[in-house]
Symmetry: D2
Subunit: 101 residues, 4 copies
């Protein structure tokens, strides 16, 4: 595979399998929560699991963002110009959504 093609891959490409494993685990947490609701488990125990799942999602988001800044944004910054500004503005919007959510 030529380097040209490689550079088209997104920042998270190298950790694709790790991300998929994480998302499988998060999907499992969503299924586990359905079982808890079906089995009338105690509200507070359900809330504890929801918080764990939210934390797992936030950690995944931070890992994806790290790779995005290290690759896509950094590449745009090295090329310079309007593309760099646009990529930083786009990343800042994503960070704002993470902080405010």
């Amino acid at each position: 595979m030529s380097e040209d093609v490689v550079t088209h891959h997104h920042g998270y490409h190298d950790n694709k399998d790790a991300h998929l494993r994480r998302l499988k685990r998060i999907e499992g947490q969503a299924r586990g929560l359905q079982r808890m609701v079906e089995d009338d488990k105690y509200c507070i125990d359900i809330l504890t699991q929801v918080s764990a799942m939210t934390s797992a999602l936030e950690s995944l988001a931070l890992a994806l963002l790290d790779e995005h800044i290290s690759h896509c944004v950094s590449e745009a910054v090295r090329h310079g110009g309007g593309e760099a500004d646009a990529k930083i503005a786009e990343a800042m919007n994503a960070i704002t959504r993470l902080v405010k959510s």
Copy 2:
């Protein structure tokens, strides 16, 4: 059904189906994210979906908490004594986890 049995149901009991539908949708979001990663979708679009999923989880947590306070905690408060304090302390711990996560 005797009142005795009814009072054993948790606060979220009446909305069990609504909660299960929400969790099914959240599980679907987790699967959608796996497809996005597999298909090498753009990092920022994946992050947008992660934020949407986090928001959905937070809204579910707030709905569960509302029912928990309206039922379990309120019942303990009406009975009074140490049980009321314990239930409020337990709810505050859950709220703290939600706020800090």
Copy 3:
């Protein structure tokens, strides 16, 4: 002092001095941040202080909420009726603002 007067005090009344001390400290953090900006301190060090101040505010909010639920909301629940529902709905709105901010 008659009980009538006592019950008009808000939940946080007993800890008023502690809350004022906390807020004085938070005000001091806001002034410290102004000095850092004036002295051209490093951005990341400023951000660390902003995060510390946000954490201090969240902890204060959780302490106020705890007292509010233990006193105002609990009293309304003991009296029962629409007032109890209104107080719980109002508290849930405050919790939602804390979680979503």
Copy 4:
């Protein structure tokens, strides 16, 4: 002023006055909250003000972070090497603190 000196300024330098005005306003909010507690204002109204202050702090943090990434981090990325990686790791730590707090 030589360009050499200019490049030593941090990213937020151009908006220093705007940041100081924002921090003055946040300091004013901390003083306003002390008056509310002293005057025994209603707990929920105090919590609403605390949430407004937390939001103001988060917005300030995001503005500082934007400038930091646009200037300090981008400059390190253009120079390349270990310095770039270190600056991105440092920024990610700050973002993590913002998201988790």
